[in-house]
């Protein structure tokens, strides 16, 4: 009995239950469906462009996984299955909005114009982050779960003070909703009415822990308790994600404060390349989610509506392949940093002790060279 009592939530855990409240505009079969509050109005070219993004991003991801297997990267956090959540939301952003990613947002990075190569540095261990966030309005990856929810909120407070019509968006996972920082970000953004969108990719797992270890009700409902709207969207439906995110961003920009979006999706791969999901989850679950693939449904829609043909799909495939092999090539060429990089960018200006350490280490290294000469 102890076990059961301690497992919790005997009242009925509906955190995992089939998501009836979910906004969906495109079914897994590629059927367009209507929703009373949300709609998208995309031209065929725009839809094809979304499709292209989805495919290319999946390819970049696959290439990075392969590079990891071959020892070229130390680790990789795959976005497989979450492409629509990322592309749909990122394509709803304006250039001058600001995005704060977690560590799996390679699709968002791609939409923000970050060279995929620059994503690899951190996973290869040549740097902690390889892009200039200001150039792309795409912040650095944040590895410590939840911390960046507060950064996004503070940034949004800055937008308020600047008086510009912009928003910040912050990406985090289902597990992250348990962290104090994420909840403090809810408190702050509500109290300050900050223009921030909380974009939670509920991929059902936090490493090996299923959602019910974190919450006994659907995550989007968390927002109610803080006094701002929460909404659950089919995270594998790029149309719905885009529509929902667009509206939340517009609300933020027009002074209506924060929104929490729960993109209901699935992590099709391992947590990272070092993880072994067979230890904790069933193949059947994976299979059922395969039927909801975010790319297949767009393809089905394009085909059904005769918006694209074989040539188009082949061309995209070829382009993606090109992106992948180019990425691989450039990854292998990534130079290792110099030892002296250890002391660089720690402080803005010369720090006497760091300078001493660097000088000491440099002459220490030279002492070996002398010996070996």
């Amino acid at each position: 009995m102890i076990v059961d009592a301690a497992r919790g939530a005997p009242l009925g855990t509906d955190a995992q239950s089939p998501p009836s409240e979910l906004v969906q505009l495109l079914t897994p079969e590629g059927e367009r469906v209507e929703h009373p509050d949300y709609d998208v109005n995309l031209t065929p070219d725009e839809i094809k462009s979304l499709y292209r993004d989805l495919v290319i991003v999946r390819r970049i991801d696959a290439e990075a996984v392969a590079l990891t297997r071959q020892g070229e990267l130390g680790i990789w956090a795959s976005l497989l299955g979450q492409e629509a959540a990322q592309i749909g939301s990122a394509r709803a952003l304006r250039t001058d909005d600001m995005a704060f990613p977690s560590y799996r947002e390679h699709g968002v990075a791609y939409c923000r114009g970050v060279d995929p190569l620059d994503l690899l540095g951190l996973f290869r261990g040549v740097n902690h982050a390889g892009w200039d966030p200001k150039e792309h309005n795409f912040h650095l990856y944040t590895i410590v779960i939840g911390s960046h929810a507060l950064h996004a909120t503070g940034y949004a407070m800055g937008i308020q003070r600047d008086g510009t019509e912009n928003a910040a968006i912050v990406y985090f996972g289902d597990g992250a909703t348990s962290q104090g920082d994420v909840n403090e970000a809810f408190v702050w953004s509500a109290a300050q009415n900050a223009p921030v969108v909380f974009f939670c990719q509920n991929n059902q797992w936090a490493i090996s822990e299923p959602l019910e270890k974190q919450s006994r009700i659907p995550l989007y409902r968390r927002a109610e308790g803080f006094g701002f709207p929460g909404i659950r969207v089919d995270g594998n439906d790029v149309f719905a994600v885009q529509a929902v995110t667009k509206k939340a961003l517009e609300n933020a920009r027009s002074g209506q404060g924060p929104t929490l979006i729960e993109a209901y999706t699935y992590r099709m791969g391992a947590h990272t390349t070092t993880d072994d999901p067979t230890r904790y989850r069933l193949q059947a679950e994976l299979e059922s989610w395969k039927l909801k693939d975010p790319i297949e449904r767009v393809k089905a829609y394009l085909v059904k509506n005769e918006m694209a043909d074989r040539t188009f799909f082949d061309a995209i495939e070829a382009e993606a392949k090109g992106v992948g092999s180019d990425l691989r090539k450039r990854c292998l060429e990534l130079p290792d940093p110099e030892a002296t990089a250890i002391w660089e960018n720690v402080y803005a200006t010369e720090h006497p002790m760091l300078a001493d350490e660097r000088a000491g280490f440099t002459s220490y290294l030279e002492s070996f060279e002398e010996v070996s000469r």
Binding site: M98, N127, H128, A129, G130, D132, P133, K134, H139, L140, T142, V144, S147, A149, L150, H151, A152, T153, G154, Y155, A156, M157, G158, I159, Q160, R161, D162, A168, G180, D181, E184, A185, V187, W188, A191, E344, N345, V346, Y347, A348, T349, H351, P352, M353, L354
Partner: protein, 325 residues
């Protein structure tokens, strides 16, 4: 010289005001910093004059204070956060250690976080638990942060302005039991030492006493009281980076050194000073560097703090011991 006599609290206040006047990006944020003016009145009147957008009464959440300050800094602001008491900085420790300190390096220098975190620190005011801590060593051990402590009104006025101007994150310790001490304040910043330099607070010949924050006054009193030895007192001011030059020059001259802080001695900042000085002045030292500080226990109930905290006698006792070695 435009020196006027101010309390340390008032000098802080005027320094903050000056910084806000000079740069519209400077913000003040913290618990009760607005209408109340902070529990030590350091931000008194600032919200009235600069508005609620620049002087922000925040939710009661220290991680939130530092985390949103980081976000504001990323947007181009220069937030000055007040942590109400030393013991309440720990909820923000994660944001300070893993985000504030590391973001410049993480970004290869493309980002900077000119955030100042003001912390009234130390004991001696008869307060309840968590209101008398000296947590500086946690921050001096965290690369990427600058850590400074002011000890008097004149430094309070200038150092806070220098800290706000600095592009690096600064942990700024204020000696809370000295808030109501008065001294002349020179308002001309050009006369001020850089905030990362130590200063010789009292020249002497026989032994070097190193202190910062509240212990500078205690050390000066000890120096004054000691008729047998000529004590040089150095106000460290900048704990990280440490102004080694000033410190080492003094110890090489005197050959004896006592380090004084309120924080527990064990694994404290004094250990760094002692180890570093010993390494760099080994043949100059007539005695080991001695440390006077709090004991290796939690801060005791306030009726015991006079025993726990270094005072004039304990400083002199250590000085005497360096001569008896």
């Amino acid at each position: 010289m435009s020196a006027e006599t101010l309390t340390l609290s008032r000098a802080m206040n005027e320094g903050l005001r000056k910084a806000m006047e000079n740069d519209p990006k400077v913000l003040i944020m913290g618990e009760d910093v607005g209408r109340l003016g902070g529990v030590f009145r350091v931000t008194d009147g600032l919200q009235k004059d600069f508005g609620e957008a620049r002087v922000i009464d925040t939710p009661l959440a220290e991680s939130g204070i530092v985390g949103t300050a980081i976000g504001l800094a990323l947007r181009g602001y220069r937030p000055v956060c007040e942590i109400q008491f030393d013991g309440f900085v720990f909820p923000a420790f994660n944001q300070i250690t893993s985000q504030l300190a590391k973001m410049r390096m993480r970004s290869l220098g493309t980002l900077e976080l000119p955030v100042v975190i003001r912390i009234p620190f130390g004991g001696g005011i008869g307060a309840v638990e968590h209101h008398s801590e000296s947590p500086e060593a946690y921050f001096t051990h965290t690369g990427g942060l600058r850590v400074v402590a002011c000890s008097n009104p004149a430094d309070a006025y200038t150092m806070i302005q220098q800290a706000i101007e600095c592009p690096d994150p600064v942990i700024f310790f204020e000696p809370k039991r000295r808030y109501w001490d008065k001294a002349p304040v020179d308002r001309d910043l050009a006369n001020a030492a850089p905030f990362d330099k130590a200063v010789v607070a009292r020249p002497g010949e026989d032994v070097t006493v190193l202190a910062y924050g509240p212990m500078v006054k205690t050390s000066l009193e000890a120096a004054q009281a000691d008729e047998g030895h000529s004590i040089e007192v150095i106000d460290i001011r900048s704990l990280n980076p440490l102004d080694e030059e000033t410190v080492l020059a003094s110890v090489r001259r005197t050959g004896r050194c006592v380090v004084v802080h309120e924080a527990p001695v064990f694994s404290g900042y004094g250990g760094e000073l002692a180890a570093r000085i010993t390494e760099k002045c080994f043949y100059h030292l007539e005695a080991p560097v001695l440390r006077v500080g709090g004991f290796s226990t939690p801060y005791p109930p306030s009726r015991l703090e006079d025993h726990y905290l270094p005072d004039l006698d304990r400083v002199l006792d250590a000085v005497d011991r360096t001569f008896a070695w």
